[in-house]
């Protein structure tokens, strides 16, 4: 099986890291796009968490060695070389477009959680009461989401709102604007001390694969 870590444009060289399970990294290049892969010799007997971390570290290392990097989700396995060639050829235009879009950028993640509900919890005796309470919580989340997006709108190139129960968003940020974005998030956190605001990154642009998937 061939394990795919990322697509990269203008890859200078492979990182000095081993792939999952210790397998050597390889690059399959088509035009200026390289698929960075390794060959699994069999089921990994390592801790899956270690394998996931190894995948992530390879992607982050590639960020220093290529013009642009498009991470591939962990665990994506292709059966053989022909499947790899088929995937790369079939998606080349989309991969190329996504690489252009993320070039020069990193991803900043922001999570916002309210450990103590701002509104007192309501014990809903009816379905209608529950729905009202649920809608109120969603409206509160939408309001805080909108406020954060407004803070970062002019500083970022794109945003993906991946909110689940906890608000979470990913911002695509040009490297030159990284300090400004992090300062904006700090100001946002300081003005909303009732929330827990966690900003992480810079990461490779995991959330901005676009049509390449």
């Amino acid at each position: 099986m061939i394990r795919v870590y990322a697509f990269a444009s203008q890859l200078e060289r492979l990182p000095d890291l081993a792939g999952v399970g210790g397998a050597p990294l390889e690059a399959y290049a088509l035009e200026d796009v390289s698929a960075v892969v390794s060959r699994d010799v069999g089921p990994s007997d390592g801790d899956p968490r270690d394998d996931a971390v190894a995948h992530g570290l390879i992607v982050e290392a590639l960020m220093l060695l290529a013009r642009a990097v498009l991470p591939v989700r962990f665990g994506e396995l292709l059966t053989d070389d022909s499947a790899l060639i088929r995937e790369l050829h079939g998606r080349l235009a989309a991969i190329h477009g996504a690489l252009e879009r993320v070039s020069g950028c990193v991803e900043i993640g922001v999570r916002i959680a309210a450990p103590v509900p701002r509104r007192p919890a309501v014990v809903a005796p009816t379905g209608t009461g529950y729905m009202h309470e649920r809608l109120a919580r969603l409206a509160e989340r939408d309001a805080i989401t909108h406020e954060l997006h407004e803070c970062l709108e002019d500083l970022s190139r794109a945003c993906v709102d991946v909110s689940r129960d906890v608000f979470e968003a990913a911002y695509l940020v040009e490297r030159s604007r990284l300090d400004a974005v992090q300062a904006a998030v700090r100001r946002f956190a300081e003005s909303h001390r009732e929330f827990t605001v966690v900003s992480t990154g810079p990461w490779a642009p995991y959330s901005f694969g676009g049509d390449a998937s």
Partner: protein
Amino acid sequence: MTVIEPTPLQEQVTLLELVDRVLNKGVVLTGDIMLSVADVDLVYVGLRVLLSSVATLDRLQAEGAA
């Protein structure tokens, strides 16, 4: 220059975020991903499962072997 060492909590958050990203985001090629633990293939169903249930994985592995 002052070097600020990350606290263990910060390191844990960073590691969790990294694992969250590699598992839940990134380009999807095949649509299905498999995690293999020894001889047992497990369809990945969620970050919390992976992070919190080594004991569960061990149990599934034992059941698979049975």
